[in-house]
Amino acid sequence: MGKGSGGWDMTMKTTTRHGLNRHLVGLLAGLAIASQCAFSQQVMDDPTQEVEELSELSLETLMDIDVTSVSKKKEKLQDAPAAIDVLTHADLQKSGVRTLPEALRLVPGVEVQQLDRNRWAVSIRGFNGAFSDKLLVLLDGRTLYTPLFGGTFWNQQIVPIENIERIEVIRGPGATLWGANAVNGVINIITMNARDTQGGLVKTIYGTHDLETVLRYGLQVGEDAWLRVHGNWFHRDDFADASGNDYHDDWNAVQGGARLDWAISDVDSLTVLVDGYRGRAEQRSLRSSLVAPYLAAFDDRIRIAGANVLARWTRELDDDGSFTLQAYWDHTVRKEPVLSHRLDTFDIDFQHRLKLGEDNELIWGVGYRLLSDNTDGSPTISFEPAARNDQVFSAFVQDDLELVEDRLHLIVGSKFEHNDYSGFEVQPGLRLLWTPSARTTVWGAVSRSVKVPQRSDQDLTVLSGTTFIPGGPPVVTRISSTHRARTEEIVSYELGWRFRPEDNLSLQMSLFYNDYEHLSTNEVGAPFFDPGGALIAPVTFGNGAKGETYGFEVSVEWRPFPQWSLAASYSFLDIALHERGSTDPLAEDAEGASPHHRAQLRSNLDIADNLTFSTLIFWNDSIPARDIPSLLRVDLNLIWSPWEDFTLAAGVRNLLDDRHPEFEDILGRGRSEVERSFYISAEYRF
């Protein structure tokens, strides 16, 4: 929903272009120091970690590794020409997180600010908000964003953390391969292969704000077929407002699913996923109306439900190629008191990877998506037409050309897409990957991506706020997106560097500059009186802003001893927006809606064979546009396995204060504060 309108203060631009130069110099100096430092140190070997990583690879991959240079090929990440980070299963288990947004908080450079107990603002490289719309989120290949506004309803995405194998996060545009909305980043959540979750698991969590039970069982159902079924129930208790009263934002859900992994033949494999959930989330809402009292607060109950089925068939071809055919159907229901939404998504994708020569690899694919939805609105919010069928046709091609053997790759490609809102879209990208040594990777990229208009950009009518002027009539803002909103366009320039001086030390840096055109704005028209006594301020969507963002992310992973691992990161972001003939008082609001500085430190210490202590420290700068002071947050977890199959854990989240606000909803629903919470958990495997 673009940007709302209301009475927020404008933010000053605090950083100039000179800032960029200064940061660049700092970055280069840091780069040089780090590389020197690495060469001066003694080689520290960590066989445990290396075998750990190798044993995650397939037999085919292992057989492809040159025994004299294992470390060269074992890490595909090292060769990725993008700012990519991966959270592993072990990272997640040790962190004690229970929800996807909390897991994403662990990834360097991802902006996660909790709005209330069941809502989060999640973004990468700016433009954060409850309705942030420039991020593509996938779970096992299924797109999670809602076509209503192009963002993700996080309280509708339920996965037991125990089932997640890894979360890959690409900061920056991923549009060439992934498509529209992968403007500022791609989040790819991958659950474990059923073969790796054999046997039973019972886990229960009891805490001041969490009650949760996870049941899972995996079995072999054929010579090369494995099946897993799981169930999950949780209740997450309310946070409080600034004075300590219940905010009425609790969240309950029950979820279940199954996964089948079947190696049909030597070259064919099939994965089938089934998932279903039903739940309830409480939310405070502030509703405007054209009759007295014109504005009122409600504690809403939102019903969520959904079911989906996905099947993926992969065939390995001779000559190192492969193809994948994937189809899914996803049904979601969301019932808010003022708006109900039912959505059916049918999606089919085909992808083919082939070698065109010794030094040339081509990937191409085609896809089709049908979105069929039905809304049931109210005087507060409605969509016209109420029901809609939309189709998206897409194709992509990407070629990886090895210009200099083992040293220099050129990756060029484009996504082509046709959608019912903006028509034909092209999103090309060009990447250069230089690996001067097996341990150093330098990459650069220029890409164009788009954020296509969503349903909310063209079909929405909403009473988005009421302003009371002393002595005057109440002013109700009414957004009607009758205007055909345009596509937002982004050209990104990126530079990255990855370096692994030792087996136990790795560094990553990325630098970016994004140029945005036609950013969505709210255009205010001439006010007029409504028969109900209110003055209506009519707002339509426009594309009256442009802007630039730039910044960098630095992260270090270090394992000084086999028992102790550390991950630290820092990111800097600056946003400069410029209204271009827009009447939107908030056209430049996003400038102050993301912190400039963000840092985190994670430590996992294995005190004994069966005892692990993890510390998570997050820090971010203030968020002036949302009146949020700078935040320091510490989470601690202690994990103890008294017996092989039995694990106990205890932890505290937000140790340092009773409660603090992390963000504020632009719709002005008041604010919920994140409270300190404690939990204990027990897990039994059989």
């Binding site: 040089a32 590389s35 070997d45 066989p47 294992v70 288990q93 090369d224 150093t440 370096f499 199959d645």
Partner: protein
């Protein structure tokens, strides 16, 4: 919850910590006195040949773990309720810590992998997988295979011609890559099933019942 990265070592004594601290301070001082001139990628840390051997065995350890997931053992060796999956190594040990790194990982049946080392043939205890050291004499190797057959354990080794000598899977380095041969007859004799997927990847599959 720390199943994924079990550690068998105690915390290091303060001495190495102190040494690292001293090294770090030294590096820092060196940097201050010699300002860096190049930005990254100025050279490659060299890998000695001893490093290569270590690497080879790390790869082999990971490979053995992966292979075990495609091998089904008879219930006489692996009763349905059992919770551990013992990988034993008999004879002189070239794997070292690489093999220990597998301990605590899960087998395909959800059991916890344990590592045991048997110095002599006599010392061999009940286990699911028996890795024969490449440095065993032929006579010892025969004895090991007899013992393995008696307890219906899966046998794997990088000893030369291991498959031909009656072992189930022989690891070989060919053209600097890891390859393997399968003796299906030997596996069948111990009621062990080897997945078709694995057979497809093998260089050679000995199907005859010929076991020496």
């Amino acid at each position: 919850m720390s199943h994924d990265a079990p550690q068998r070592h105690r915390l290091p004594t303060p001495t190495p910590r102190l040494r690292i601290l001293v090294v770090a301070v030294g590096v820092w001082l060196a940097l201050i006195s010699h300002p860096p001139t190049a930005a990254g990628g100025a050279g490659v840390p060299t890998d000695g040949t001893e490093g290569e051997t270590q690497r080879e065995y790390r790869l082999k350890a990971a490979f053995i773990y992966r292979i075990c997931q495609y091998v089904t053992l008879p219930s006489s060796n692996l009763p349905p309720g059992s919770k551990t999956y013992v990988i034993g190594l008999v004879g002189p040990d070239p794997y070292g810590a690489a093999l220990d790194a597998l301990a605590g990982k899960k087998s395909s049946g959800g059991r916890v992998v344990q590592i045991q080392r048997f110095r002599t043939v006599k010392a061999i205890r009940n286990c699911q997988v028996l890795i024969a050291s490449p440095r065993l004499s032929d006579a010892d190797l025969r004895a090991v295979l007899n013992k393995a057959r008696a307890m219906k354990a899966f046998t794997i080794s990088d000893a030369s011609n291991f498959a031909a000598k009656g072992g189930m899977i022989a690891l070989e380095i060919r053209k600097k890559k890891l390859r393997f041969d399968v003796n299906l007859g030997a596996a069948k004799k111990s009621s062990i099933t080897i997945s078709a997927r694995l057979l497809k990847l093998a260089d050679t599959v000995i199907r005859a019942k010929g076991v020496h």
